[in-house]
Symmetry: D2
Subunit: 364 residues, 4 copies
């Protein structure tokens, strides 16, 4: 079933457990000729990494990527690109005590019902550690999209618990550890996170991810709708509970006359559609909003049952993120880039013969 | 690429344009031995159909299903089930005037950029008419899920524009034309819809869809997460702009200690997870919320461009729904049922050898 | 699992039983803009049809193709093309007596073990009637390959029982009912077939299928090798027991110095590879040879068992082909064309950026 | 397109170049609970390995398998199993001189046309080195098939150039370096191979691969026929030019009354079908015959062109097999096992509800 694979023409398969010897991925279907070196992965992996500030998990992984195949003399060859990252800071002893308990809100209970067995060390396969390889694979997609089409993918945290940005400045996002678009609120966020960490509780967050420069015409219009595949991509990230395209749930209370994005020779008047109409890109920015639940790995005790069915109280120790959403922007970017590259490849397979269409509405 | 297909082990392929000779589907991978007759489709197709009240499009289609294959002596044989519905009330002349204009908020513009050509009659392939076959295919999935596992799938409209139910009574849902869970508000809804229709504008809606009785253990834990595939399924429905599982976007403002669903030998204390943990069913009800935008087919004129690039004003005539969300519950149910049946089949492929796991938390 | 579908980017799904109401197919992933009309299917369907000479089954089917979708104003739109052929000459009573017996060499026994049920009318889904839709789908692929690349696909019968052509003249193939490349042997073949039919027995045959004009570079080099997918395509045709590419089994007794096709600026010196190296087309003609077993539908009685397990003697009545291979060339052509079109689409998805490569060996 | 993946429910993805740092694979979809340790791979990898006798390539690889994921406490967990083998004896300098020449009969020319670039070191991705990982993945499938169903897969070399076994003794096969079923001919084979190696030429071979104990009912009856997928699996192995099921090409000259396998309460009277009817297993042994061409890596000079298009003479140095077929039995076994396991999983997905069918013909 290949459920550990993602994409159709650009196919990413990830493997590895949180506390196993390594994690890795195979990227198949990548066009030849793309410059690629191990250091290309450093920037985005560092953006996703834990342990760089006190606000994230204190696990320190080097996250050094070894390219095992698919690259010759610094360029992709069209054969599968295998990437490997060794796990170096796995402390499995932290988890021994909970191997026989089901942590509320975790996949412990469901994995056991599915497989009859589970690897309890660090959450095994259900750990967010898997997302490292999504980010790595996304690096390739981002490079290709940028080089070939000028497409840029970016993301920020647009809400933490009840806090929303006072102003929205994309330039601020990469200059603080919270991917936060309002530099003036960073101190407030730090205080919030310090208090949260001290409390032993966790917080939810919202991430906004955006693609700029996507040409009109990408997407498959029925079950392979661009927005449908984006929704699946985002919902496949650990802790995600909701996905919106464009106006999202706000469209429930809009009138049609308000929601529809009028067009003129000067461009689109608005972008409630979020850059996708009928499952196909319109040329406007693609806007996606993603809800991350508060992680269930808390130091606060909680009622649960053990494998014998008895009521117990569980406390999750180990190293965890009090707000997983804070590390999610690079992951969301990667997933959006992978969906877009896949659709770009599908588009040219079927539609390479289609002559350029006029008119092209500016910004669309 | 098969973008007109859905599912992995239970694979539904739909075809047909809104105003073409027919629409249809092929359901491949259905187990043998399921009783199936043309009349099995009537109930759900009638629930989805237009033209039954003044509140929906006035297109009247018989929606008679012909079973072309895959059934012998009243039971499925395991071979592909082809279903055909002839279009009988297509009025293509209504659309002639807009063939050269791009209706704002429609797929006209994006289809043309993708394909270089489009069938303008009734929206062609982008029409919600395609969802007829989703509902038909869903009938088979619902039968199988109910017979084999006692799984029930149901849906209601949980918001129309700013109106939310005062009370939530599942028994009320099927007794009014709005799939509305509060019988006491039906008159209010009728008045709202009458005013809306008269205004020429349209309204958004929210649909809640739920599966009861899903056993723990269904779902694939990384890219084939049950919630990821549900999100894609819902987002592939025309006019959907957002999908939530369980607490959805509300989880952004929850604390972890509030969001996590505590367990005891008596059962789960809450269901913020919406019945899915780590991409795998927990045994609790699966709860999904879906945002439908207000349809862009309005009688109110709107600014757009024509194929020459010139600014024009467009008015959509033809027969349209002022609130497409009102007909969406049967479609959402069908999509959820198809995802669940597909995962049930996948589950037993990989996990047929897994012995029953204890404990099983009640209601989970 | 979609086992009734074929292809990746050009995806053909067939449905229908031999004696059901209709057979049909959905062709998904076809590029837009291809001229297509119902009459385009007539020629190849007639070439495959039964009942035109005394040497094939006497079932007479009109095989009129209805295009249900995917074509607008005479051209494909990029949406799924559904084709329907009604069955008009099904005589199911012929099969009533054998519903409880397993015909030796048929799928009766294996279908029952797989599904627990089978449609005994005319072989149900296992009938060669299904290949009608392969030929229909192949028409689209052949058109596209010819128009876009000048690729021609053709086939002949290259052996019947012990008879091989005395000379090989492609021009003779379409001028006799046996697709036979030696016009001087047609009388001999007729006499052979008359005697065979009279004897109540059946004969095997070999079909040679060839593609001319395939450019170098099509094919995926590991599990999607062009020859691997051709082998699967041919072996999926009813009654096929063997497939060879190029020299095929003769390569077992060749020396490497004899088998390898030397190259010079003037071209390739031979084509033992059959036009495929490392799973990728070389530009030489693609040569495939296919073994068709003698059909097991005989008038000669044979020992078998019935559903109670008792020994019985079975005689297959009904209308059957004494040599199914004689009708196979159009089917083999269709399958080869479908594989090639699929690979052409895959090629341009991944390799659209690859600049033309020199040198190009003539004929290669 | 994931052409480096194989299988549907049991999905194997391989990666790695002949002279790159490593080769590896990811096996996804494997049921949980299967005992698995690195040493389980040793036996079959050693059977496939080069350098053990003078009759194969003199490359010496340790072929030590590292299990990177998917196994916990000695058993599979249901998550992807990643296997890694480091390349240790790659001598890339041997290939430097041919980087700009196209070796006749190799994939050099076609890879360059496909990708515009190729890794010339040891054939890169087109090297038979890739088959190491097929054998490794096949080990898992063979274990599962044996444990769950008692299915045994085995293979032998049944022809080398013009030499065929004088007698057929499966017990002899594993006791000589040629997988040859007639112990009395081993000396003759050794002499043949010595002379061949000395001549600088290469020889073709035929491999017979067989599965015993496959229950009736596995296989998908149209495009996923068991024999179609076996044909693709075998044809995807380097150097394969032909595949036969059961009687194969011999069925061309058989009468139907001779080919069909009669049944009685005592069993099948013959097995011309090779254990597959209508694409579904009959319960008889599955018999497959595979043609391996003589490798094109010869020390004998051959005419070709270089990248400038000029005529040149090429000599392949490096370390090569004079008869690749001699190492192929473990690879053919692995591919057959992988196809069978995949179909076993597909079978139970769709047909888990089918009650056991009577009668079951003995040996079938």
């Amino acid at each position: 079933m290949s459920d550990n694979s993602f994409g159709r023409l650009l196919r990413v398969t990830t493997f590895g457990e949180s506390h196993g010897p390594a994690i890795g991925c195979v990227v198949d279907g990548c066009p030849p000729g793309i410059p690629l070196a191990p250091e290309d992965f450093s920037h985005d992996l560092a953006r996703r990494a834990t342990g760089k500030t006190r606000h994230t998990s204190q696990r320190h992984e080097a996250d050094e990527v070894e390219i095992l195949s698919g690259v010759f003399e610094g360029r992709t060859t069209g054969t599968p690109i295998a990437l490997l990252v060794r796990n170096t800071d796995a402390r499995s002893k932290d988890y021994a005590k909970i191997a026989d308990q089901f942590r509320p809100g975790h996949a412990d209970y469901t994995y056991l019902h599915k497989y009859g067995v589970r690897d309890p060390r660090g959450g095994g396969r259900s750990s967010a550690r898997e997302t490292t390889m999504r980010v790595a694979a996304g690096v390739i997609a981002r490079k290709w999209l940028a080089d070939r089409f000028g497409v840029q993918v970016r993301a920020c945290v647009s809400q933490v618990a009840g806090l929303v940005p006072g102003r929205f400045d994309w330039d601020a996002v990469e200059s603080n550890p919270f991917f936060w678009p309002d530099a003036g609120q960073v101190a407030e966020l730090e205080a919030f996170m310090d208090a949260l960490r001290k409390s032993g509780d966790s917080a939810g967050a919202r991430v906004h991810v955006q693609a700029l420069g996507v040409p009109p015409g990408w997407g498959e219009p029925v079950y392979g709708k661009l927005d449908a595949e984006i929704a699946a991509a985002m919902m496949s990230i650990n802790a995600v509970k909701g996905v919106e395209i464009g106006a999202g749930f706000a469209s429930v209370t809009q009138k049609g006359s308000e929601h529809r994005d009028l067009m003129s020779p000067e461009g689109f008047a608005s972008n409630h559609a979020g850059g996708i109409l009928g499952g196909i890109s319109s040329g406007q920015p693609i806007d996606v909003s993603v809800a991350f639940k508060p992680t269930s790995s808390l130091r606060l005790p909680g009622a649960t049952v053990d494998r014998s069915g008895a009521a117990v109280e569980v406390v999750t120790t180990g190293r965890h993120d009090p707000c997983v959403g804070l590390r999610a922007p690079p992951i969301c970017e990667a997933m959006l880039a992978l969906v877009l590259m896949d659709h770009a490849l599908r588009h040219r397979a079927q539609n390479a013969d289609v002559p350029p269409v006029t008119p092209k509405v500016p910004g669309g």
